[in-house]
Symmetry: C2
Subunit: 413 residues, 2 copies
Amino acid sequence: MENTYNFRKSTDTFLRATKVIPTGIYGHQTPALLVPGSFPYYTAKASGCRYQDIDGNELIDYICSYGPMVLGYNNPEVEAAAQAQRELFDCASHPGEVMVRLAERLVELIPAADWAAFAKNGSDVTSWALQVAREHTKRRKVLMVQDTYHGAHPWSTPGHGGLIHEDRAHLHYFTWNDTDSFFKLIEKYKGDIAAVIMTPFHHPTYYASQMPAPGWWATIEKTCREQGIILVLDDVRASFRLHIGGSNEYFGFKPDLICFCKALANGHPLSACCGTNELKLAAARVYFSGTYWYSAVPMAASLATLDILERTDAVAHMFKIGGMLMDGLEDLAESHGLQFKRSGPPSMPFPHFTNEDNFMRQQVFCSEVTKRGSLFHPHHNWFMSAAHSEKDIEETLKHADAAFKIVKNEFGS
Amino acid sequence: MENTYNFRKSTDTFLRATKVIPTGIYGHQTPALLVPGSFPYYTAKASGCRYQDIDGNELIDYICSYGPMVLGYNNPEVEAAAQAQRELFDCASHPGEVMVRLAERLVELIPAADWAAFAKNGSDVTSWALQVAREHTKRRKVLMVQDTYHGAHPWSTPGHGGLIHEDRAHLHYFTWNDTDSFFKLIEKYKGDIAAVIMTPFHHPTYYASQMPAPGWWATIEKTCREQGIILVLDDVRASFRLHIGGSNEYFGFKPDLICFCKALANGHPLSACCGTNELKLAAARVYFSGTYWYSAVPMAASLATLDILERTDAVAHMFKIGGMLMDGLEDLAESHGLQFKRSGPPSMPFPHFTNEDNFMRQQVFCSEVTKRGSLFHPHHNWFMSAAHSEKDIEETLKHADAAFKIVKNEFGS
């Protein structure tokens, strides 16, 4: 019999964790979003696109820490820049000049940005962006796409615990790529809509990703301009994997505010909100603060990350290598008589079995690939990085071949 | 004439910043909270209790990065622990076992804690704690002390921009040390109060700090128990400067939830919420997540920080050295015929002129001390650290002597 990974230490450590941490591992890294027992839960060490879990299993990582890892774990150039700053200072009583340089760099790199402000999490910047939009427009309503994650704050959390009615009093939901549902809300709340907040493409958990239909972004942008609505792009997850200048550049539109996080500093804790000069006064009027938000090391790491992303055209590499993985998986699936197709962009793909909507084949497939050495998430979009090579993809396709065989045996088609 | 510091590069860099960052420096580090022109705005390097600003001025730091720096900048033992973890991994697709160890350590160290959950900012944990309280009690109302900062989220922000009515629909305010104002709210909202959230002592910006009056905490605790209200201690700012086991141990009461941040990891980005077993199920039910919340380096840094704090009895040192500073300042002020008295605990003192309520003497005094080499904040409580020595205090008292003379000349008393 084939020798696949086991995750005993991960399971044991998780049980130990549940004694002192509610749910053991909470949030997006919870085993509950994976397939319990079939995935590693704890990292031991990581380098490039590979990591070792605490059972000593080595895995090629297609989750990339859910986005932040875009240049490979422990990228030498990014870490050298971080270390140089660290030897001077990190978290102090005043920021460093590096904060100004990073803002200047983003303004130069992001065509839609006239300014930048920094925080730690995606939630910090998406929530603040809505406040800035409300301050600027003096309106209350916010329109967003159903089943979109914009962070863990009460107005957006996918959880149900601890919410009160008022948390979402002025949030209203339309359907991705459905102009009728969008215009219905525009008409209904005319004159009181502060913001429309959207991700550049639709990447809900537990669903296939959806790219924008032709004309979708043009419709959104035109309507926002006509109605004086602030268009907020939540680029937290997709930024620097579609276009170095913001994902809106890839799709050809201009938002008023853009939220960045994840790939911004290759794993160093940093998020940013960029905006246009028209919004700058409102931004200045909305209090924005956090203990570690001025820390200099993540900013130095971000400058290095952006330089490498730009210099190496990392987006093109991720498209190429992600496309290669998708081609390979689709071909393999077909050779096994299985219906497995890509969704989303090649740099953030989420392929799935098109003849099921319960993710049962998907769970078996991703578990079996993972147990052979390539981390595939069954319910959440994957991430490619600049550190993935053709050799990695070839190795992963071998894992996938064995896993498709098991799916075929178990499900028949 | 005496040669004092100038801050030309800070001012120039700040002007450059205003072009690409709303307000240049936002939040609690904004020059607007200091005295514009009389303080440094940018750090160049830092070590121990001292830092150099970008004009090359050297300062003894009594702000301590507004709390995080509790063992001195670049503490060798903390940084060695961080570096050892960093060489393995930091932000990955799964947490490290270090997350479990840190939770176990906090449960061991904090008598009121049966569990811990980690995030990045103080706001992350104070907001989540209220959700947990609402989930547990199935009630809506939250009582808090007027003029208290519990973070930058809309329910608590000191700013006015971008808020809507619903942000504070169920927040109600009582006065510190005023049992009548507290009981009035308890009676008025009986049966619908989810939580009372409070700092261990009252440290509002632009006011003297206030310690709890005799019986104050006993009254709060007893009332919460009787009414089934969750008592949330916001120990974000004060934690590990009053008692190693949580500031409630210093004052002798037991909260249901405690929020930690600041000194928790000596400047590495980390916050935590600890709670009792009674609240664990509710905590598990409230979604809690952020991109970098599982990062291993700040957790390793925190373990080292807590070890040093405990082993060296750092709290006692901060009390001693802070007391020495307060004694020295009060004596000097008296020798100049000035009325300048301490408020707050010695480890987080906020001394002030008792014959003014407009902070004019305070601004001149703190500016003149800062221009001589000791950073004193005119409007916000100060922080002592384990890295401050008697020699540092002696040097600072010389700066203060010269500054008191100027205040005396300018104001007469």
